[in-house]
Subunit: 479 residues, 2 copies
């Protein structure tokens, strides 16, 4: 059975076109006709500009619980990280299901149709495995299915607590649940995971989940292990993601220990290439930029996070000029708004270059759509063309924010609040600006209250929800 | 007659308080009671966080017509300025009334309760005066009254086309309508203006308009004339505003011609002080920062404009540490969202300092509220306290953006779309997220189409509206 939509304007690979009819069959775009002045009777009418689905190439879903809660006392990235660990410590599979479902629903409301979840909260707080060792990952898969967003689950290898001059530190108590011990144990769990993910096969059904792997960073994964994780990614033909040079301290520690930059270490471990996405890529040398460009590595910028966490402005234009692809992510979700990320990529470049138009509108849209899809292993998405995944997003042209702008420049004016319709795999998830799950703000408030211990009128008190093992989070935290 | 509101939370000078009752009489706050667990029967209930009204301390209303229209071809601040001049050339008093009304309505929807309009489009395109030489200013006053926002009309002296090494250039053809010829003629027109502004007296009626003066910049106002404009401001006890060092080219031209920085020139002209607001203050020397601080000058940052126009990041924290006050403005209105400006002030500092919490939440809110009010000549606004102007704004805590955040950190999470209620002088202008004028997006689309010549489905074709002199804009542009 096919369905059809009529778009007032649609952003096609050849540029913006008025009057475009999109026909969808089996979750993919079956036909695209332009020059259709009016809809046909069976068409769903989409007023405004319809864009390809937007990709959130870097997410830590639980960080959403920190929004608007960490600005009171100054500090740095590293003090923020302590607050983040406190939330991580409270997660159970059941609590994380509730939280991630609401965060992913917020993403779809904002126009994201696929998310790459950089997932490292694997185990119980003491580091022992849940009865199902992938209980947390399973919760994330369920959350994405409920929220109607595609998911690439980037199962993350996290082995060490940090990189001091003398070498890698053991995991701190609050990091124990992130670690599998070694690469073999991490890969073994990933194999186990492969069994249950089969319920989301590529060739039938909704096909909304793909798998990927991640090495957390050169801080958390030693040399040798980095190369081993990259081998796993290559063997399984999965995307590989890794945090890279987000903060100067990582570069200093890497230089002290290895005598090279993090990028040089990844290159030596054969971890760069078009299947690899390095996240942030903020503090790079010219040699680093050349290496990332020559290997056609993807650099995922997270502009709203990079300004919120005081990371700095990375060399996005230089990376693109050198040959790297660019993708975008909302990372810690201080903001969930794909248009803010697109504008951030461009405007941060403007702030340091003194010039406008550092990226063309088409380059920015590509970073936010097809390049992000590809970074997450969906080479067939993020484009409005025949055969592609039927993921698209409509932005209204009539709001106080978007009124008057040229339709092909709408990403420079729109906000998440201007998204009216979101279709994923041919299924309407957002319509009239409302998510099919209903009150997403309410879902978020309850889920965040449960993991922050907040109470009062804007969040229920932590309710002692039992997790998949039948233990309450309070039980879990007992020594 | 008094009216009362019950606020779930309100941001008082002493900090955030739950259960606050605000009683208003004759446009001012008559009483504030905290600890009120529930509303009284006559109270209007305001769920969420009620903040003092937000001040937009720097606006060029007509620049809104450029949003989402200037990103196609790269370029710089200076090429953007040519596009801006093209819109300025099409304005008539009637068209400007329609445009400014809709832009000011967008501002109120976003939470702004007062705007400082840096107004320099005074005359006919050929530079001759309208029959009423303040026809344009009158249109802005009417627009603000219609939109329900307080206005400080900063009547701007604009004498020269630019500052080259050899001296000041004459006004270019597209700048002719900005100029009065000399300071005496500018001040004479300001005197004439004083007559008609009397219909908005301080002591009775709605009292929504105050007057201020501006010198455009050291580019547009020569030495000597700068001091004369400052004298007018002092004589009339009005605020003085001036653009300062937005782009490096201004500093270079000033050094070439005067052998000093723009700030040093203003200091030599006795134009600095607590009654003066310098706008942007981006490219400053340590000596400039000290001078602005010692004189307690106000520095108005416009973060969303400064990143959109590739201006750079100014030394906001250093200015505050030196003694300057900080205010915020949306300037060219690439974005109209006071929370984005607050976050921009903080996050631009984070990007260059590597630290978070460069300003406390209270400092940011002060910059966005009371400091902005004071910069615009309203020393009695921007604070929720007895005797102050009854201007306040409620932000919901239940949206997908604000859910879960701490009520006192809501400016770090909210967007313009989360504003539910806006009260100005005790009068409700926005309720349930809707402006009393109705469809603001539609008003904007029509007004922008009329000044850009756009047509099609998202804007009516230019309609040849007649201006106050009965001439169409087409007539006006004939040689």
């Amino acid at each position: 059975m096919s369905r059809s939509w009529w778009c007032e304007y649609a952003s096609l690979p050849t540029g913006l076109a008025p009057g475009v009819r999109i026909t969808v069959s089996a979750g993919r775009i079956h036909a695209i006709e332009s020059g259709c002045a009016v809809p046909q009777s069976a068409d769903v009418r989409l007023d405004g500009v319809t864009l390809p689905g937007l990709a959130n190439a870097h997410s830590h879903a639980f960080h959403r619980a920190l929004r608007g809660r960490t600005h009171g006392g100054g500090g740095t990235f590293w003090t923020w990280r302590q607050a983040m660990y406190a939330v991580a410590a409270r997660l159970t599979p059941a609590l994380y299901l509730d939280l991630a479902r609401s965060v992913y629903a917020e993403m779809v409301l904002a126009g994201y149709t696929v998310v790459g979840e950089f997932h490292y909260v694997h185990h119980r707080p003491d580091g022992t495995a849940y009865e199902d060792p992938n209980a947390m990952g399973r919760a994330l898969v369920q959350a994405a299915a409920d929220a109607g967003i595609r998911l690439t689950l980037l199962d993350t290898c996290y082995l060490a607590g940090g990189l001091a001059g003398a070498g890698h530190e053991p995991l701190a108590p609050e990091q124990r649940r992130f670690g599998d011990g070694d690469v073999a144990a991490w890969a073994h769990r990933a194999d186990a995971r492969w069994d249950w993910i089969e319920c989301y096969p590529d060739t039938r059904g909704p096909n909304r989940v793909r798998l990927g792997v991640a090495a957390h960073s050169v801080r958390a994964v030693p040399k040798g292990a980095l190369g081993a994780v990259a081998d796993v990614a290559r063997d399984r033909r999965m995307p590989l993601h890794i945090h890279l040079s987000e903060q100067p301290a990582e570069n200093v520690a890497c230089a002290d220990h290895y005598g090279c930059t993090p990028t040089e270490l990844l290159a030596a471990e054969a971890a760069l290439g078009p299947g690899t996405t390095v996240v942030h890529a903020t503090h790079l040398t010219p040699t680093d930029i050349a290496a990332l460009g020559q290997t056609e590595t993807v650099a995922c910028f997270c502009p709203t996070t990079e300004r919120d966490l005081a990371d700095g402005i990375g060399p996005a234009r230089a990376l693109a000029d050198a040959g790297a692809a660019l993708a975008l992510g909302s990372d810690q979700h201080a903001v969930v708004d794909p248009f803010e990320e697109l504008r951030g990529l461009e405007s941060h470049e403007r702030l340091i270059s003194g010039r406008r138009g550092r990226f063309s509108p088409a380059e920015l849209l590509q970073a936010g759509t097809s390049a992000g899809y590809r970074s997450l292993g969906w080479d067939d998405g993020g484009r409005l063309e025949v055969g592609a995944l039927a993921d698209f997003v409509t932005v209204g042209l009539g709001s106080a924010r978007t009124a008057g702008c040229l339709p092909d420049q709408i990403p420079y004016a729109a906000s998440a609040a201007d998204v009216t319709t979101v279709v994923v795999g041919g299924e309407t998830v957002v319509s009239g600006g409302a998510h099919r799950l209903g009150d997403v703000g309410g879902l978020l408030a309850r889920a965040i209250a449960a993991v922050t211990g907040a109470d009062g009128q804007h969040g229920h008190a932590s309710r002692g929800t039992t997790d998949a093992d039948g233990m309450t989070e309070t039980d879990r935290r007992r020594p």
